[in-house]
């Protein structure tokens, strides 16, 4: 089921949570809504689910307009950050809930419900926990129950609100891989909200980057990471160094002056090259402040000689050994790849 969001706006009092959001999601896609807190991503998800009403705009599932259809009839599966499992019901009863509350003529027989619950619990690998209560499960297990419960009603759309936000790092990683595989098997149109860029890059087919109630960029994980179209996206998706410079006849030069248009160059840490000798004119002198090795990459913290700003560079272990860097040494850094933004109201 495809989803179309047209001109959706929402304000809470004087706070504009969403502003003219337009978004098309294709059938079977797994889309991440990525943004900092307060960017409106959860509001958008809740509006799609019908848990919140938009002030204006239209929501379509396929060709069907959903704007004024109640949550109960939207047939969406919703997974909450804090699981929202029914505390007083067993795991099996939680999963069966959506089927049991159907009207008599739509409700499957008791046997069918039992089979369905069994099937779903084995899908989330919790067969042995059917008779437990939610309080007896770990966070990861609870969220898997919540997913099984949402899938039981065979939703046309699966909506996940920070589904792994309350879990610890290791479980989170496992569970998001598992979600990806699940999606590859079932192809339910899914939207999940996250503020964790790594999670979005890891799982989603497409990422919608949101900021202050607006969509900043829509694209594949590679697109938004490699070709951010705004300083915000650059900054939000991974670490970034900012070089303050100027535009001279259309090319960027390091160091700002009063004669030329000011320009900021955004460079990812792994695009910062460190050299012993000054090989190019745009290389900048810098002092090594700190070196720390994380697995196969080496993070080097530097202080720019001309401006005293701090820089971060990432290099491979081999390159690090070759250069034989030590804290306190003076080296030259050169951006291999940079993206230039003219500063407007955005400042870092």
């Amino acid at each position: 089921m495809s989803i179309q969001i047209k001109d959706v706006s929402k304000a809470f009092g004087s706070f504009q949570a969403l502003q003219d959001i337009n978004l098309d999601i294709e059938t079977g896609e797994l889309v991440a809504l990525l943004g900092p807190s307060g960017s409106g991503k959860t509001s958008l998800l809740r509006i799609i689910a019908g848990l919140e009403a938009s002030d204006n705009g239209v929501i379509l599932f396929g060709d069907e307009e959903m704007t004024h259809i109640r949550t109960t009839e939207r047939k969406v599966g919703f997974v909450f950050q804090h699981y929202a499992l029914f505390k007083h019901m067993t795991v099996a009863d939680n999963v069966a809930y959506g089927l049991k509350v159907r009207s008599k003529k739509e409700r499957p027989s008791k046997k069918e419900i039992k089979e369905k619950v069994k099937e779903l619990l084995s899908l989330v690998k919790l067969d042995a926990f059917a008779d437990r209560y939610p309080s007896q499960l770990s966070g990861g297990q609870r969220q898997r129950v919540a997913l099984a419960r949402a899938l039981a009603v065979e939703p046309k759309v699966l909506l996940l609100d920070e589904p792994f936000g309350a879990l610890d790092a290791k479980v989170r990683k496992e569970l998001r891989r598992w979600l990806r595989r699940l999606h590859d098997d079932f192809h339910i149109t899914s939207i999940f909200v996250t503020h964790d860029q790594e999670e979005a890059l890891d799982v989603a087919d497409r990422i919608v980057v949101m900021n202050e109630g607006k969509i900043e960029q829509i694209g594949s994980p590679e697109e938004v990471y490699e070709h951010p179209n705004s300083p915000f996206v650059y900054d939000f998706l991974g670490n970034v160094n900012v070089f303050h410079g100027r535009l001279e006849d259309g090319t960027w030069r390091n160091g700002a002056d009063s004669l030329h248009q000011q320009a900021l160059a955004y460079v990812r840490p792994h695009d910062v090259a460190i050299e012993r000798q000054k090989s190019a004119e745009d290389a900048v002198q810098a002092e090594i402040v700190h070196i720390h090795v994380v697995g196969r990459t080496v993070h080097v913290e530097l202080k720019q000689g001309d401006t005293d700003r701090f820089l971060e560079a990432e290099l491979t272990k081999d390159r690090y050994r070759e250069l034989d860097l030590k804290p306190g040494e003076t080296v030259f850094v050169r951006p291999n790849q940079l993206k230039v933004f003219i500063p407007e109201d955005y400042s870092i």
Binding site: A49, L51, R70, T71, T72, E73, R74, K75, V76, G77, F78, F80, H82, A84, L85, F86, K87, H88, Y97, G98, V101, R102, S135, A146, R149, A150, A152, V153
Partner: protein, 287 residues
């Protein structure tokens, strides 16, 4: 060098806990607390029972089987049976509205719920007199249609209803606020309508809090004196509740009879306390 701690230091730290008070102070504090409890709570309770049985079992039985006493007991039970379920319903409705919806004037509503706690019950009773007496706001209407509220059972029920209104709502509002509405929202997305969501999700989640509120409401409905005294008219055998009956007996110097009926109410209060503790324990167990 690092990592070595002198042995003598270790020995000192494993001694007595510094937070512990000296024995003398502990004994003093505990005996003060216990004697206060005995003097002000236990002794009066004992006095009631001693006084009630002072002139023998025969008089005790006679006092509580006296037709006026029996009618007072019946009326009290009738008031409880009517007010407690009604206030449970009102309380749930008010708590639901306050915690699950956002609307203007919410804080005013919360304040109004507390009103019966804030004002004296006597004033609560007088309000009903102002409304329903023959010179009151609805006086003419009631006279024309021959409806008796004041100095009759409906007045007593209304006054008790007013005074005991906050108990259930007060108990449920913080509980429902802390639970949030995520479970209800989950239920809605799974296709359950509002009514099913209430019965299957909300009610099971609040049942212990609700029961606790109902028990408190019940205790107050049995014991309410001030408001009921103003609206009842003290008609023996007709509009006397148990507390009013006790007062009349006491004023007529029938001390043993007064304390006999009082002992019945005390037993009711003790049962309520035990029930309340069981509910608290159960609620804690179920989280």
């Amino acid at each position: 060098m690092a990592g070595h701690i002198p042995l003598s230091y270790v020995g000192k730290s494993s001694g007595k806990k510094s937070a512990e008070e000296p024995l003398a102070i502990r004994v003093l504090l505990i005996s003060v607390a216990l004697s206060f409890l005995f003097l002000f709570l236990l002794l009066p309770l004992l006095a009631i029972f001693i006084k009630a049985f002072e002139q023998g079992m025969g008089l005790y039985i006679a006092s509580i089987t006296d037709p006026d006493a029996l009618s007072a007991i019946k009326l009290t039970l009738l008031v409880v049976v009517l007010t407690v379920p009604l206030n449970a319903l009102f309380g749930i409705a008010a708590a639901w509205a306050i915690t699950k919806f956002d609307f203007k004037g919410k804080s005013i509503l919360i304040t109004i719920i507390d009103l019966p706690f804030a004002i004296s019950p006597v004033i609560a009773g007088l309000v009903f007199v102002l409304l329903f007496s023959s010179h009151g706001l609805f006086g003419d209407f009631l006279f024309e249609h021959d409806i008796k509220i004041l100095f009759a059972v409906p007045g007593i029920v209304l006054a008790t209803l007013f005074v005991t209104f906050p108990f259930v709502a007060r108990e449920l509002i913080p509980l429902m606020q802390s639970q949030g509405s995520a479970e209800e929202e989950a239920s809605l997305t799974l296709g359950a309508n509002g009514w099913k969501t209430f019965w299957l999700v909300t009610l099971p989640n609040i049942k212990w809090g609700l029961l606790y509120g109902v028990i408190l409401c019940n205790a107050r409905a049995v014991g309410e004196f001030g408001a009921v005294s103003v609206v009842s008219g003290h008609i023996r055998g007709l509009t006397n509740t148990m507390p009013l009956h006790i007062e009349i007996l006491y004023n007529e110097y029938q001390f043993s009879a007064a304390f006999a009926v009082a002992s019945l109410m005390s037993i009711l209060a003790i049962v309520t306390l035990i029930l309340k503790n069981i509910v608290e324990w159960k609620a804690g167990e179920h989280g």
